[in-house]
C-alpha cells in the first residue's frame, strides 16, 4: 500500500514524462527531434573546416558558430514545441480527464507545471546542450578561443535556451488550454507565432519591438552573441517578452485546470 501523499516533484515529473512519452509516439515529433540534430552536425563540420583553415592558411571565418547554431536551432525547436505542446491539454479536455487528476494527489499547479515542463525541458535541452558542445569544441580546436570564453558562451546559451523554452512552452501549451481540439490549438499557436510580429514589422519596420517568442529569442540571441551593447534594450525586451509568454501560458493553463478539476 502507498497511502502517503507523493511529493510535488514526483507528481510534476510524472505528468511531464508521460507527455513526453506520448509525444515520442508521434512520427512527426520523432522526425523533428532527429532533424534538430542536423544543425549541430552542420555547425560542427564548418567548425572543423574553420580549424583546418586556421591551421594551414592562418585564416579565420568571421562568424560565431554558437550564435549561428542558436539562430537556426530556434526555428527547428519552434516546430518541435508546436508538436509537443499543442495536443497536451486539448487532449485531456477532449477526454474529460481533468477531474481525474483531481481525484489523485494532484493540484492545479502540479498539472500546469508538469505540462509546461514537457515542452520546456526538451526545447531547452535541444538548444542548450548542442550549443554547449559547439562552444566546447570551439575551445578545443580553435587556437584563438579559450575555455573561459567558451564557458561564457555556454552561460549565454543557457540563458537563451531557458528563456526561449519558457516562451515557447507558455505559448504552445497555453493555446492547448484554450480549445478541446488539437488542430485548433495548432492554428492558434501558428497565428500567435506569426501574426503579431508580422503586424509589428509591417507597421514599424524591421526594428519593431518583438512581440512573439521567435523574434524575441532572435533579438536576445543577437544581443548576447552578436551585436552587443547597441542592441541591449531590444535584447532585454526580447527576454522580457519570452518570460511574459511563459507567465501568460502558466496563468491560462492554471485557470483552466482550476476551473475543470472539479466534478
Amino acid at each position: 500500500m502507498v497511502h502517503k501523499a507523493p511529493t510535488s516533484r514526483h507528481v510534476v515529473s510524472t505528468i511531464a514524462r508521460r507527455e513526453l512519452r506520448l509525444a515520442w509516439q508521434l512520427r512527426l515529433v520523432k522526425i523533428l527531434a532527429l532533424f534538430s540534430i542536423l544543425p549541430v552536425l552542420v555547425i560542427t563540420t564548418v567548425l572543423v573546416g574553420q580549424a583546418w583553415l586556421d591551421k594551414n592558411f592562418s585564416r579565420t571565418l568571421d562568424w560565431d558558430p554558437v550564435y549561428r547554431f542558436l539562430e537556426v536551432q530556434t526555428r527547428v525547436v519552434v516546430l518541435l514545441a508546436l508538436g509537443l505542446g499543442t495536443p497536451s491539454i486539448a487532449r485531456d479536455r477532449h477526454e474529460d480527464v481533468l477531474f481525474l487528476y483531481a481525484t489523485r494527489p494532484v493540484l492545479p499547479w502540479h498539472y500546469t507545471i508538469g505540462k509546461l515542463t514537457s515542452v520546456w525541458a526538451p526545447v531547452a535541452l535541444l538548444l542548450c546542450v548542442p550549443a554547449a558542445v559547439v562552444a566546447l569544441l570551439q575551445a578545443g580546436i580553435l587556437v584563438h578561443v579559450t575555455f573561459a570564453q567558451s564557458g561564457l558562451m555556454i552561460a549565454k546559451a543557457v540563458l537563451v535556451a531557458g528563456a526561449t523554452a519558457t516562451g515557447l512552452a507558455g505559448m504552445t501549451v497555453g493555446c492547448s488550454a484554450v480549445t478541446k481540439q488539437t488542430r485548433w490549438a495548432v492554428v492558434l499557436a501558428i497565428i500567435l507565432l506569426t501574426v503579431p510580429d508580422g503586424l509589428a514589422q509591417g507597421m514599424f519596420g524591421t526594428d519593431a519591438v518583438p512581440v512573439g517568442p521567435v523574434r524575441s529569442s532572435t533579438f536576445l540571441t543577437a544581443f548576447l552573441f552578436n551585436d552587443g551593447k547597441d542592441r541591449a534594450m531590444i535584447g532585454l525586451l526580447g527576454f522580457g517578452v519570452l518570460l511574459a509568454w511563459g507567465l501568460l501560458g502558466y496563468m491560462g493553463i492554471h485557470a483552466r485546470a482550476k476551473k475543470e478539476m472539479i466534478p
Binding site: 502507498v2 497511502h3 507523493p6 510524472t14 508521460r18 506520448l22 477532449h94 481525474l100 481525484t103
Partner: protein, 310 residues
C-alpha cells in the same frame, strides 16, 4: 459500533452562489455506503467535497479521520476514485493509463506497471490492455477505470455510477468484483441511480434530496421503514377476512390464500384489524410491514421529502 470513516457535521456547500448541500450531517460506518438521490441532489458535489476539491462553506468534513480540505492530499493518496464523468487518461494503452494513475498516487514507474498488470488481471482484462484506450468498448473502459482506482491499493473506494453503460452480463460481473473488494475489507462509497446495484453492494444508504439528507441508515432500516402495507398471515386470514376488513374502512392491497396485505395508517385501522381477527377466530402467525424493494423505499422516501418540502 464500527468507527466512522466519513464524517459530515453540518456541512453546507455552495456552487456558483447556489446552495447545493445544506447543513448535512452523517457519520458513515458501513463497509459499503450507497449514495443515492435524483439528478442535482448534490451527489457529485458531496464526492468533490470528500476529495477536498470543493470547499465546504461551513461545517466539518472528515474522511478516514483527515479533515478536509486541509488534508486533501492525504485523503486522495488513500482513495481510489472511479469518476462517472471522467474518461481514461488518453493517448496510451490501457495498462499505460492504469500505471500512470498509480504513479500520480506516488508509485514508482516499475512498481506502478507491476500493480497495473495485477489490477487488470484481477478485473479479467486480457491482451486488450495493450490496445489504445481510444478503441475500448464501454465495458472495457469501465474495467479500466476501476483498475485505475485500484492500482495503488487504496483504503477506500469512491465509485460514481460504476455500472453505467454496461450490458447486463458486464454489470453483474462488475458488481461481483466490487462486492469482492468490499469483502476484502475496502470501504466503498458508491453513488448510483440504479437501486439494484446498491441493493447488491451496499449495507448503508445515504439518500440526498435537494441538498439535504433524506435518509441515512442501514439498508434494512430503509426497506422496512416505508410506511407501506402490513402483511398478515395465518389461519382464517382469507378473502372473507379481507372483505370484512374493507367494510371497516381499511384499505386491503392484496389477498393471498392464507394472508392479506393492508394499509394501517392509524390506530383505528389496527383496531379494525384485531376486531376482524376476533370475529373470524383467526390465528395470526405473522404480522409486520411488508419489506419494500430498495427502489420502492427510495422512491417513497424521495416522494415524502418532496411533499414535505412543498
Amino acid at each position: 459500533m464500527a468507527e466512522a470513516w466519513i464524517e459530515l457535521e453540518n456541512v453546507s456547500v455552495r456552487r456558483s452562489g447556489r446552495p447545493v448541500l445544506v447543513d448535512i450531517s452523517a457519520a458513515m460506518r458501513g463497509k459499503a455506503v450507497g449514495l443515492v438521490g435524483a439528478n442535482g441532489s448534490g451527489k457529485s458535489t458531496l464526492i468533490g467535497t470528500l476529495l477536498g476539491v470543493l470547499r465546504a462553506e461551513s461545517g466539518v468534513v472528515r474522511v478516514l479521520g483527515y479533515r478536509l480540505p486541509e488534508m486533501a492530499m492525504e485523503v486522495r493518496a488513500r482513495a481510489g476514485v472511479m469518476a462517472e464523468q471522467a474518461g481514461i487518461f488518453p493517448g496510451g494503452s490501457g495498462v499505460d493509463a492504469v500505471a500512470f494513475a498509480g504513479m500520480l498516487s506516488g508509485l514508482g514507474r516499475s512498481d506502478a506497471l507491476r500493480r497495473a498488470h495485477r489490477a487488470l488481471d484481477a478485473l479479467a482484462v486480457g491482451e486488450e490492455r495493450y490496445r489504445s484506450t481510444s478503441g475500448f468498448s464501454t465495458g472495457m473502459k469501465q474495467r479500466c477505470k476501476l483498475a485505475m482506482s485500484l492500482v495503488q491499493d487504496p483504503e477506500i473506494l469512491i465509485l460514481d455510477e460504476p455500472t453505467i453503460g454496461l450490458d447486463p452480463p458486464g454489470r453483474v460481473q462488475l458488481l461481483g468484483l466490487i462486492r469482492d473488494l468490499r469483502d476484502q475489507g475496502r470501504r466503498i462509497l458508491m453513488s448510483t441511480h440504479i437501486m439494484a446495484d446498491a441493493e447488491v453492494v451496499c449495507d448503508e444508504m445515504l439518500l440526498l434530496s435537494e441538498g439535504t439528507v433524506a435518509y441515512h441508515g442501514t439498508k434494512q432500516q430503509l426497506t422496512g421503514s416505508t410506511g407501506g402495507p402490513i402483511s398478515a398471515e395465518g389461519y382464517g386470514i382469507d378473502a372473507t377476512f379481507a372483505a370484512l376488513l374493507t367494510s371497516y374502512g381499511v384499505v386491503v392491497t392484496k389477498v393471498r390464500p392464507n394472508g392479506v396485505m393492508f394499509v394501517a395508517n392509524d390506530d383505528s385501522h389496527w383496531r379494525a384489524f384485531w376486531r376482524v381477527v376476533a370475529e373470524r377466530h383467526a390465528e395470526v402467525r405473522s404480522l409486520g410491514p411488508e419489506l419494500a424493494s430498495l427502489e420502492d423505499a427510495v422512491v417513497h422516501m424521495m416522494e415524502g421529502t418532496e411533499h414535505h418540502g412543498t
